[in-house]
Symmetry: C2
Subunit: 272 residues, 2 copies
């Protein structure tokens, strides 16, 4: 039996803590998964060969879930390194107060734009340069809920493996391809595969309620939180739609706008 | 001309900093408004007699906006106390990195359930015990966008004047009534005013796409992030609807689910 790690300076602990930083995540190809439900989803995704877990850290003093203990037991028996650490050391890695006492280090899957095609991915979402990690995770959660298939992050986006993205995605990040690409490569790829690109913009040509039917294969293109779609970006769309704005606010939260559009597309197509 | 406050221990600075805490906000009836756009909206709402500003703090070293400087000049001339503070002192009050150099202290409006009625508020949203301040602010932003009128927070909710709520609302918090009430009082009030209460729940009776028309006056009732609506809460609804869930995720983010429902209600009614 291994002893409990009680030092914040333990090498493995330091490596895990470093994964709060984007640079360390990108250099190592690893990211953090925090909490009972997310680790459970990560294990399920590993069983489905979607991702790979490198290690699990847990603190007995904090972990009160039989489900979580069973996860650890099973992972340990399958050869995943599981490290018991003290509550204080756990808190030094954890991103928020009152952690549940379990976290995993997982390897980020690498999927390239060229691997996505309309046969396997009939509809997906592309967002230009989102900056809020919570928004990206929430969009992944909605993609999963509506039965869409992938998220494309165009240009300089927040790191999709930011701990807040992982948390907000409620596990969806393990199940759906995440691709980072330049806008130019995206535009070329969409043409090549004959995707219909539907852009959402305050200056969209049609009120979304006027659209009677959406044709797959389809990409929903959303602009960034601050700028929305530029004219040039809207220019590659087969269709641009707008959500009516009746108050003082000139825009919706990015994840809300994406959610309204995804449910509308789902209701007006044979996509799901 | 008043001198620049350079001490973090200045009484006014300490009072403003304390407003990051719920207890201090509730005891004083005051809250913080941070950033150029939010302070601009607060000033506009004050001009429309929606709220009252108590004071403005600004840091010349940080504030790079002519619009903001004009706001300060005009507020000072109207008698609002405006205090110049050093960048370091500003940072000690501010909630996030890279603050824009302007914040206001505003008095929270107090509106009671009894003041809301279908004539003035034909449709509104009620949420049971939301815990995430960002969700509450995002829902307010969507309420404004669709032309709904008020937000009711039932049972033990996060403080709606939390700085993250104010920020996420993009100013909508100044323009729409926010009422806290017990579920029992809410249920009684809805009956008295003959509001149609439409609940959203994973166990809802109808898929939301089956609903052809919504009748005002209407309250959209949403459950908490963790629990959704209980059977008892769903029991007071004239109608319960569900949003289809096709993936592994069993629920949507609360603000996304509220947004999808609000746009659907808006499209299927004469409410806006």
């Amino acid at each position: 039996m291994m002893s409990v790690i009680t030092s914040r300076n333990n090498l493995r602990v330091r490596q895990a803590r470093l994964l709060r930083q984007r640079k360390a995540r990108e250099e190592s190809g690893l990211f953090l998964v925090e909490g009972i439900f997310p680790v459970g989803e990560a294990v399920a995704a590993q069983d489905a060969s979607k991702i790979r877990l490198e290690s699990i850290f847990y603190a007995s003093e904090l972990l009160k879930s039989d489900f979580a203990w069973e996860l650890i037991r099973r992972q340990a028996s399958q050869g995943t390194p599981c490290f018991e650490i003290s509550a204080e050391v756990f808190q030094s890695i954890a991103g928020k107060d009152n952690p549940q006492g379990i976290l995993a280090v997982a390897r980020r899957p690498t999927i390239r734009l060229g691997e996505l095609n309309p046969g396997a991915f009939p509809w997906a979402v592309a967002v230009v340069a989102p900056q809020d990690p919570g928004n990206v995770g929430t969009i992944l959660r909605t993609i999963d809920a509506v039965g869409a298939s992938a998220l494309l992050l165009l240009e300089s986006s927040v790191d999709p493996f930011h701990p807040s993205t992982v948390r907000a995605s409620m596990g969806a990040i393990f199940w759906h391809p995440l691709v980072c690409a330049s806008f130019a490569d995206f535009a070329q790829w969409a043409v090549k595969h004959q995707y219909h690109v539907v852009g959402t913009s305050a200056q969209g040509d049609s009120d979304y309620r006027e659209i009677l039917r959406y044709q797959p294969p389809l990409i929903l293109l959303m602009g960034s939180e601050r700028e929305g779609l530029t004219d040039e970006q809207a220019g590659i769309c087969q269709q641009t739609v707008r959500l009516p704005m009746r108050g003082r606010t000139s825009s919706l939260n990015l994840a809300v706008a994406t959610g309204v559009m995804l449910y509308d597309i789902s209701a007006k197509s044979q996509l799901s």
